[in-house]
């Protein structure tokens, strides 16, 4: 028998000097600190003093709260489906640490856990990642999350929303009221033969609008619905459209010219994972080619600053705004950057023949063709 078996099992932790107590706390993992914080008011205060400040906290659907220390690791807390006592696994070599608890009301319990974690780990920066396709996450759970964020003073710099129906987007826009730096909106289809691509249209009411996000990224696997873009009064819109014909992009530009698009946009970049034809996109639109060697313009959007050389200018119906259309790959670091030959050739070809033409390099390999992605960019002045 070990001699330790005979000694008292207890240890007067709170009688240790402060530095030693901090040292003990440094060896406790976040779950042990979390437990410690729940014992009494005093241990709650001590846990806040001794805990390492988390970089950010995530609320991930359906009910996971994740404490993020970036390169130092993630610690997730989420409910079990089956009843049982609280437990945790910390086997960092093989798995991400996980703390499991059981609750009959997992959404409201997740919010309670979130509140405690924000408090104990001294981090009020919450990233929200929601997937409305999760069968466990009911609509009322979603709205309870949105309500919580509306009244809670935490900062939410980033929201990720993955959904499949227009009703999900509508629920989010109507109920989520927290200003955020960025929204990533992923529109998926139902599982089917061509999944995730889907022919089902995204149905949206006309009156939806939000100005809560500085930047919106849309990734859509459904047929493009440019009304979705109009919802967002955000200066920056970036998107990937998997089903966007050139003709739709042409309509988009004509809508902008007619004042039928959101007037708050400053930069719209739409990536299409295939080669596009600029002739079709600009069909019926009066455009002016700018010489990339002499017309250099600085773009400042979303904390990013870069230059575009040349480009194609189009004007709106009353001449109050100009949009410069270009391909995103021609973003230049500074004014003195080398002007790409393709831009010069394209410009000169246009000057000679009067044609608007975009020349893509011939792609040799299969991989290159698969990766072919034209990012149509429109910067509005």
């Amino acid at each position: 028998m070990s001699s330790l078996a005979l000694v008292p099992f207890t240890f007067s932790l709170l009688k240790l000097p402060f530095i030693a107590l901090q040292n003990v706390a440094d060896y406790l993992n976040p779950y042990e600190i979390y437990h410690f914080s729940r014992i009494s008011k005093k241990t709650n205060i001590l846990a806040k003093v001794f805990s390492k400040k988390a970089t950010r906290i995530y609320l991930i659907s359906p009910f996971c709260v994740l404490i993020d220390y970036q390169e130092k690791g993630d610690w997730s807390i989420e409910p079990n489906i089956e009843p049982g006592p609280d437990s945790y696994k910390v086997d960092r070599k093989n798995h991400q640490p996980i703390y499991a608890y059981f609750s009959k009301k997992p959404a409201s319990e997740a919010l309670r856990v979130l509140e405690r974690v924000v408090d104990v780990f001294k981090c009020s920066i919450i990233y929200l990642q929601l997937n409305t396709r999760s069968s466990r996450l009911r609509r009322q759970d979603l709205t309870s999350y949105f309500d919580w964020f509306t009244v809670n003073p935490s900062e939410v710099p980033y929201v990720y929303l993955k959904c499949k129906h227009g009703a999900d987007v509508q629920c989010f826009i109507e109920n989520y009221k927290k200003p955020s730096d960025e929204l990533d909106l992923i529109v998926w289809g139902e599982r089917g033969r061509s999944w995730p691509l889907n022919r089902e249209l995204l149905e949206l009411p006309d009156n939806l609008e939000t100005n809560l996000f500085k930047k919106v990224k849309i990734i859509s696997y459904k047929p493009a619905n440019l009304n979705l873009y109009n919802i967002f009064s955000s200066p920056v819109i970036d998107s990937v459209e998997h089903q966007l014909p050139d003709s739709y992009l042409n309509t988009f530009l004509k809508n902008w010219q007619s004042g039928l698009t959101n007037p708050n946009w400053k930069s719209v970049c739409i990536s299409v994972p295939r080669q596009t034809n600029l002739i079709n996109i600009l069909d019926g639109i009066t455009a002016t080619y700018r010489d990339p060697r002499t017309v250099k313009r600085q773009i400042n959007v979303d904390k990013e600053s870069f230059w575009i050389f040349g480009g194609i200018d189009i004007e709106n119906h009353d001449g109050s705004a100009t949009a410069t259309v270009q391909w995103k790959k021609y973003k230049m670091e500074n004014e003195d950057s080398e002007v790409p030959n393709e831009l010069i050739e394209e410009y000169e070809r246009n000057q000679e023949s009067g044609e608007v033409q975009h020349v893509e390099q011939v792609l040799q390999g299969i991989v290159e063709q698969l990766l072919a992605s034209s990012t149509f960019s429109m910067y509005i002045w």
Binding site: V7, P8, T10, F11, I19, D26, Y27, K72
Partner: protein, 201 residues
């Protein structure tokens, strides 16, 4: 205790540079004396500064009284100096900010700390007082290990953490101890209750 009879901690002579081969004498609060190599003392920032400030020669070390360490007993100080001798010459570790902090307890340290929790408590106090970073690390790590897999209720028992009610009771008791009038008032109140009065006033 005479210098000759003082317990000497095992010393690895080969590990000690020739010019550092000086042994200081320390005395615990229960008058136990220890001879400790200069290199081992370097593990303790407090003692290292102290001996540097004293500027003892080899003769001073033998002829002057042992340096008293007033608030550490002999049993604890023996462990401290055994640890320092074993780890002499090792670099003082730097925290890399891992969550949680990572420290391995070497076999020697594990055996050294195979002690009851009362003595472990004193060892941590001593490591903190003498500012021995790595001894504080391993001893605190041992205490932290007691929390592994425990529920909040189990943690409360292991670490003797008072509940809110116990904290309140202790606070009241402390207030009463500070204010004798409060106790008098309470006693008077109890007396009146015994006499059948419904109201104190």
């Amino acid at each position: 205790m005479s210098v000759e009879n003082a317990p000497v901690v095992d010393v690895d002579e080969a590990a000690i540079p020739v010019e550092k081969k000086m042994y200081y004498r320390f005395e615990s609060n229960d008058k136990k004396e220890f001879r400790v190599s200069e290199l081992a003392i370097q593990q303790s920032e407090t003692l290292n500064r102290l001996v540097e400030a004293m500027g003892y020669t080899s003769e001073d070390v033998e002829n002057k009284p042992a340096i008293a360490i007033e608030n550490i007993d002999g049993k604890t100080l023996k462990l401290v100096f055994q640890w320092c001798e074993h780890h002499k010459g090792e670099a003082i570790p730097v925290d890399d900010g891992s969550v949680p902090k990572i420290v391995e307890i070497p076999e020697f340290d594990a055996k050294l700390m195979d002690i009851d929790n009362g003595l472990l408590f004193k060892l941590i106090w001593a490591a903190d007082y003498l500012n021995i970073v790595q001894l504080l690390n391993v001893s605190c790590k041992k205490v932290a290990n007691m929390a592994q897999g425990k529920t909040p209720a189990q943690l409360r028992r292991v670490y003797l953490l008072p509940s809110d009610e116990e904290d309140e009771a202790a606070k009241r008791a402390a207030q009463e101890a500070q204010d004798p009038r409060a106790r008098e008032v309470e006693e008077e109140f109890e007396e009146r209750k015994r006499q059948g009065g419904n109201s104190f006033f």
